[in-house]
Symmetry: C2
Subunit: 695 residues, 2 copies
């Protein structure tokens, strides 16, 4: 019986906050999954499959050790503990947000790299929060307990938000841990994730961006690759390096060709459950819309960078982020525009709907497909109807304005980010000492106001109210150079003063946030209702899928910890065999082959130390492990849980994997552990760091 | 009486092909014009205004000499004859299309500049056509003779196209001149323009792009400026330098501060007659749509350039063009988003409509405003509904496919570009030996097919037919690497073989052009009908304007020869006085102030010859002359018709002048004649060229 399938499945809670109980799954994989497909929940690993396919048996200890050695960067990214004294390994491009915030015109750590000779020299990040997953619990029944099918979607959404708020608050109160309820299977399951937080995080080592992002935007998402996309932080507690129980040992030689490896990280978002109608909306509307925005912002940041060397430095990290997104979305769209990929999706859906149609017990799930179809029309109509303002100072103002309003309600009824259980994380961001560049922020604000005016029409009520008779450029200039929100103390005053302080502030940026707040809230509400409708429909589709195709599977990515795996393995492209790994020596050749292009200039540290390093050291390698954005910085381990690599990218062929996994050419790309060690020892003069790794 | 106003006005023919008769206009300017506003028709100059304001009297000889010394670059741009032996002066950025086509991986003339030591070394442009205006004739009555108000717009459009075709053919047959009927006042008048064509055009001198486009994309449209945006061609006849009767003398010292100067060039397009409804469509729909496209193409060309130094060279000129357009449109949009500008437009329109309403003789014009309003809805609905494919090889294929079809009709009934009277110009482009880079063309084709799929939806009939079951990237790759259209002989064969050859060609690019042809033609037809409706409405509005505001005015720009004027004059910006001109010496300072930015590196020729030049030589200057895109390369002359400068840009404040002229801060920017001479003599070792100037 379909309804009970999920209850019999593997979604059981890990029942207490310190010990981990993993159910051993004896069932085989559903037939629609490829061998290495899957971003598996840590409380529902495909144990039997791993045993039969790779001879690896993830025991409770194995799983707990890997889970607790894994680290999430809350800004978006993954990492791992790699020493007993708190060293955290992640990608340079995950650490880059902090590197940029720590940089000054005099010390450009993002570009030039950084090395602390002693712990005293380690630099504290202004607003990093790292999370270590401690516990997972299935709370689906609790979340659904007060929801019934007679509620309209607005009521259901409000009620669900309230229940989730209560669960999170109770969990935090009893454990002291960061507690978040995660929606899985598009609404089929709700799990409570509990994390230990680290908020004192310090920079230990970063290479030059020329080494980390060698080959630049063109090589990004390409393979073969030659990037030292790594950096090292250290977590502190009570002003001392934290003592870490679960950390990864450092592999002596890294993986062999064909050896299975495991990736433990936080994939951000996938859309594999999407119906064909939803995919077509992505293809014909959502992705083109996002790409227009990315390109717009990319050009804007480039324009700002042309003003001067210092301005280029200020914009660099944002520019990288937006270029990365633009390239990623371009690849996703190309995937959906490929009739072969869409055909596979159509056929799978037809198969499922046919099975539903022939089984009276499943018939009620069919309606879900029509619901999703109806939602598409609404989604398309809503595209570009929101206020799309973004600038650092505006976002601070918006947070303060919304917080004052939300704080008048009981915690559980607030928008999620304003609940008491999230206040500490929110304030870390809100009162961050990260630099704000007013010139850059003016450019971002002016353009995003102009974009809002374009999307909503200059004569629309909200735009007229927002602009107050001046041009977007003028409004932005007045707000940026008139606001006091760059002063952290003033932010704290406003936050402490609550609604009264906001109402009487007179700060032009606060006024701007107030002017659009009604529109923003109305949009958030509609959006939440639509998501609720969608959640209920996808929950039904998930149930139908389990009932027809098998019971052991993985949900779409949710920026929570997952396990992926697969062998280290090259692939064929246009008749050529692409080898599984590159070497450090080949990086020099790659540079020579691109003479005259700035992005292919290796830093001096590499050129000067070329004779000191073993040029045959494996540098980057590919595997079939199923990853996506958010996995950046994930540790890659062998079956003995030794660190053999560091995920930093997927190849171009992997970009459509948001929608569909493919093991023919799609590959995840890692920095080889030996290259990190070799570089620390013989390029960066950082033996004191290298010697702590895995110890 | 309103109807007769225009007939009494100045739109009289210049009645024969060699002599010029200019009517002296005794009337004062309409009160809504600013002193230096206007892109004046050469057969309707504001003679009295020039006399009373600037003490300059343009005689027949004066006007004819300036008109015949002026040159139009058909690729888009203006120029002038500057010697008796055929030297033509224009902007580097007007010549850049040819510079790029003449460049090779070994000789990058676009980047490194060029100098012919002798006429034998002058390089023939592969497909340049230069036009010298010889005659203007008012053919309004002829064009309207067979149009009556009972015709529906489709019939009227077809009929008008036919009549214009007949007029052009007859004019060409009798004179041998290139003959084009130009729509003025949005449809209020039709003039026949006749040109002598020069198709053997050779490159004489061009500076490095680092000197011509010093300051790059950031300084573009900015002022103060320091650009040697100039290059020199020579026209040939019968393999000899052409003997030129009308050419401009070279001023000894250039203009004085406050001196009035004249600009004779071909402004491309303005929209000053647009109603408020039309301007709002521009602001909220058309400009944002175009900008999305420009940014998309800019990123695409940047991406292609990242592939390598040679690829960057191939894409450079296209990239400049698109960046220029993106910056221009951004400024136009900012203008329309400025409530102050829109307010002035609204008030002017309200004033006009009120006057119409109070005068029974004018009442019938009011309907035109509603017609324009109705058109906006259609225009917005049509946005993005067309096939938007662009690549060099695709455009060749499309021309061949359409030509075969059009050639089955009588000449006068064809689409304008396929008439017999235009065949020579068409073939010069179609059979051009300009290089085609298949890698670049594949990137352009793939992206523009993908864009078409995004705009029309992948499941639309035309996209399904176009794609034939493969992805956009695959389709583009197959067409680019499968076509034979890069072979000029094959193009000639297909052109000669007409419809039969096209039908049986089997060439994949021809097939692609055929697959979308029905859709393209349907769109062209709808578009032409809409334009006809619009023409009739704007013609009525123009009549109303003449009747109420005055009879002597200028029509919106149409890429035909116009005269603009105004004093050399600085302006105030943010409380600072911006001086009227810069000096060559200040270019070195500007470079030093932007150390570390590639766009501000002066070429070696400048650095090496710094001590040889007079650093006080005026370099760039501004005037209030009313110009717009297309004016690039226009000669700037003093009242004695000596060349004192070379238009190359407008400042940022001038960008909204598409919609409204403003003389407070809006300025045209020119290269000073003395700087051109100084550079030729003391930087580029080109005294043999400098010595021919003005002689």
């Amino acid at each position: 019986m379909a309804v009970n399938v999920l209850e019999r499945s593997t979604m059981k809670p890990i029942s207490n906050a310190t010990a981990l109980t993993v159910l051993l799954i004896a069932m085989t994989l559903p037939n629609y999954l490829l061998a290495d497909e899957g971003m598996w929940l840590f409380n529902a690993l495909p144990v039997e499959h791993l045993k039969s396919t790779y001879g690896v048996e993830p025991t409770e200890q194995w799983t707990e050790h890997l889970m607790k050695s894994s680290v999430r960067f809350n800004v978006g990214g993954s990492a791992s503990f790699v020493s007993s004294n708190g060293l955290v390994l992640t990608n340079h491009h995950v650490g880059s947000d902090t590197l940029a915030k720590l940089s000054t015109p005099e010390n450009n750590y993002l570009k030039d790299g950084f090395l602390a000779k002693t712990t005293a020299e380690e630099l504290r990040a202004p607003d990093l929060e790292l999370n270590q997953l401690i516990n997972i619990e299935d709370v689906t029944e609790k979340v659904n307990a007060r929801i019934d099918t007679h509620m309209d979607d607005a009521t259901a959404a409000l009620e669900r938000r309230k229940i989730i708020g209560e669960i999170e608050q109770a969990a935090k109160d009893s454990s002291g841990l960061r507690s978040n309820v995660v929606t899985l299977f598009g609404g089929g399951r709700y799990h409570l994730y509990q994390y230990k937080k680290y908020t004192d995080v310090r920079l230990v080592w970063a290479p030059e961006s020329a080494a980390a992002f060698f080959g630049g935007d063109f090589d990004n998402f390409n393979y073969p690759r030659f990037c030292l996309d790594a950096c090292i932080f250290r977590v502190y507690e009570n002003e001392q390096p934290a003592v870490i129980e679960h950390f990864l040992a450092w592999s002596k030689n890294g993986p062999a060709k064909g050896e299975v490896v495991f990736v433990s990280g936080n994939p951000g978002r996938t859309s594999r459950i999407f119906t064909v109608d939803a995919l077509k909306t992505e293809r014909d509307h959502m992705l083109p819309y996002s790409l227009d925005y990315f390109r717009r912002r990319e050009i804007l940041l480039q324009q700002y960078s042309l003003r001067g060397v210092e301005e280029a430095r200020q914009a660099k990290d944002d520019l990288f982020g937006i270029q990365n997104a633009r390239k990623l979305y371009t690849g996703k769209l190309q995937g959906l525009q490929d009739p072969a990929i869409m055909k596979a999706k159509i056929e799978a859906e037809q198969r499922l709907r046919k099975q539903i149609a022939t089984d009276p017990a499943l018939a009620r799930y069919d309606q879900a497909f029509d619901t999703i179809k109806e939602i598409q029309t609404k989604k398309i109509a809503r595209l570009g109807t929101g206020v799309r303002i973004s600038s650092q100072l505006f976002e601070i103002a918006q947070t303060l304005v919304q917080m004052a309003e939300e704080d008048t309600k009981p915690s559980a009824q607030r928008l999620p980010e304003f609940r008491d259980s999230s206040r500490e994380s929110l304030e870390q961001q809100l009162f961050s000492s990260a630099p704000i560049y007013k010139g850059l922020d003016q450019a971002l604000l002016a353009d995003s106001i102009a974009r809002t005016v374009e999307l909503l029409g200059a004569d629309s009520e909200v735009c007229q109210k927002m602009l107050g008779g001046v041009s977007p450029v003028q409004l932005a200039t007045d707000a940026i150079y008139g606001t006091r929100l760059d002063d952290i103390e003033y932010r704290k005053q406003l936050a402490a003063g609550a609604m009264e302080a906001i109402k009487t502030s007179g700060d032009p940026m606060i006024r701007l946030a107030q002017a659009v707040d009604d529109h923003v809230r109305a949009e958030q509400k509609e959006s939440e209702e639509l998501r609720e409708t969608q959640r209920q429909a996808y929950a039904a589709i998930a149930e139908a899928l389990f009932a027809t195709e098998g019971t052991t599977t993985y949900p779409d990515a949710t920026f929570t910890l997952r396990l992926a795996f697969g062998p280290v393995k090259g692939y064929e492209l246009n008749g050529q065999q692409i080898p599984a790994w590159t070497t450090m020596g080949a990086a020099f050749e790659h540079s020579e082959n691109h003479e005259g292009l700035e992005d292919y200039e290796l830093p001096n540290s590499w050129i000067e130390n070329k004779t000191n390093i073993n040029l045959d050291t494996p540098y980057n390698f590919v595997s079939t492990a199923d990853i996506i954005g958010g996995n950046s910085g994930s540790p890659v381990v062998n079956k003995d849980l030794e660190l053999v690599g560091l995920i930093f990218d997927g190849n171009l062929q992997s970009l459509p994997s948001d929608y569909q996994y493919d093991d023919r050419q799609s590959r995840s790309i890692s920095v080889h552990s030996s290259a990190i060690r070799e570089a620390l020892l013989y390029i960066y003069d950082a033996s004191h760091v290298a010697n702590q790794l895995g110890k």
